[in-house]
Symmetry: C2
Subunit: 382 residues, 2 copies
Amino acid sequence: MNFSYVNPTKIFFGQQQIAAIKDAIPADQKVLVIYGGGSIKKNGVYDQVAEALTGHEWSEFSGVEPNPTKETLDKAVAIVKDQNIDFILAVGGGSVIDGSKYVAAASKYDGDGWDIMIGKHQVTEATPLAAILTLPATGSESNMGAVITKAETQDKLPFMSPAVQPKFAVLDPDVMKTLPERQLINGIVDAWVHVCEQYITLPTDAMVQDGYAETLLKTLKMLGEQFAERDDDKWRANLMWSANQALNGLIGSGVPHDWATHMIGHELTALWGVDHARSLAIIQPSLLRNQMQFKRAKLEQMGRNVFGLESGDDLAERTIEAIEAFYHQLGVATQLDNYGESREQAIDAIIDQLNKHGMTVLGENQAITLERSREILELAVS
Amino acid sequence: MNFSYVNPTKIFFGQQQIAAIKDAIPADQKVLVIYGGGSIKKNGVYDQVAEALTGHEWSEFSGVEPNPTKETLDKAVAIVKDQNIDFILAVGGGSVIDGSKYVAAASKYDGDGWDIMIGKHQVTEATPLAAILTLPATGSESNMGAVITKAETQDKLPFMSPAVQPKFAVLDPDVMKTLPERQLINGIVDAWVHVCEQYITLPTDAMVQDGYAETLLKTLKMLGEQFAERDDDKWRANLMWSANQALNGLIGSGVPHDWATHMIGHELTALWGVDHARSLAIIQPSLLRNQMQFKRAKLEQMGRNVFGLESGDDLAERTIEAIEAFYHQLGVATQLDNYGESREQAIDAIIDQLNKHGMTVLGENQAITLERSREILELAVS
């Protein structure tokens, strides 16, 4: 249990907190507000941001798509460079914030931004950025990671750098009031799998980390069960805070991480546009079954501590069934579709993508080879 | 549930992490190492620090006592000023780190350092400091608070400022190997009460904060039960991390805080030198019983979730008994001694001190007047 940990992103949590950006961004900074498809203009968030930025010089860039693409983001990079932008304010969910991290990093680099994604350029400098979160799910608002897609080649790749960690993040649960049901469900599932990727691994001695992870899983489970009560301040605040905590580095300090579900899931999104969270729910149960030799002990612990299941030889198997039931209750599928192709073609396409992206040895035990990934996918369609 | 939260202290956790200070303190900084009675010379920590500081210009100040006094610390303040010290490295437990925070703040102030404690001087600037923790208990290594005593008047007062938050903290569980049993026990009790002060309050909707607090309480409870296994890496690492988490601001974000047990306990320490942790164990059970109208719901929750008690009308009362049993099992008393005076004299002395220090309306409901404090003390001797 050796680790270093710090999370320098200041959190402003609660109703009416968007106004806090006025003082949080130095008055002399020229700001670029980056957002997505325009929902923030309908739900009042844009107006709150504009009001708070009164006195600042600012401009905007809109149109960042879900699974943000290099092609779109490079236009924002050009604006930051041309207009000498000092500060980037991402207003949106994980896609907008991830995209803004790419813009922040690429705007301090003379070459092609994609060099960052393929490891050709190491990010040590970035335009400072902050986030106003409008969709709790990815935790991107207070971590140093981002996932970007190259539309031209259907490549979806991650990068990490302390330089792109947001300076602050505003988490106002009221912004969730107008979110579609599907996005709320995706947020719950995404946060849930983030916790699992750092928890369902070989057992460790880390009692605090395990207990925190179980707290988040129990909270998300309860929010899923109480989905009918989603138009409630309490429900919204707890989802927003647990999704943040799920991926801010804390529960993952000093313990093994898996992330294989994410790496395989990314290819479903890149190939067929599957919602990120839903790609995870498709892959995870089959992956856990395939990797049972490593996952059994922690699944048993999860069964007892999160689902309150009785002990028994098949406790780990029952825990996976309980995870599936949790997804199904939210209307989220756990089987792989063919996406209009034959079953073999679909699986071949995913395996080809994994191979192309170097995702040939995945998981905390480096046990998920392409052969194992194929087994997992076959299990997911059966 | 509105709050802002950030913890900028970088944690280096694990065995052999003291070496990390070499790169964490800029090479051109002139360092003052502050420590206590010299135990770090016996257990090898001093040598590790000296080794890591090779290449830095550094000097040392020793002799910071438990419940550090202004009188001692002002000598270190003079050194920082006279020698133009750039960086303070506190090597010790809560007393040394708290004392170093006072030194850091007072060294940037022209007047008497005690002005900080009585609120006459607002701290906005301090000499940068960091901590090497040798005794897990107070959480001072990654928070912005400190408690300082004026020996002359037996005043023990707290101050807080973001300026004295350590830049980094080294938590190497191996430093605990040579700690006396009494200090380990005090550490468990201190961390336990820190969690309780932020948890046993009126119920809120904060599911994550409650679950995290319960995780820490369950961890500390298990470490107490497994006290015989204290010479074990796992035991040490879990105590060190849970004591840190107990008071780094996270579990207290967006929820009410009590701290009345601390304020009353401080007077026992100031008057008769009672160990800080032991003063808390004396006050807390009686305070909970006295404030039952506010504490019942959360005590019931604690009884179920931390102690695994069955429901029932007297669940809150049984939870307080379980807390007492937890202290007694560690050999920690929960009754107020007379400290060589008559019972009435002892209580009068404490009440006089509380009055003098303005501690006349305490607790998260501002319900603990001097009259209530007297009731609590009488309950604690009965």
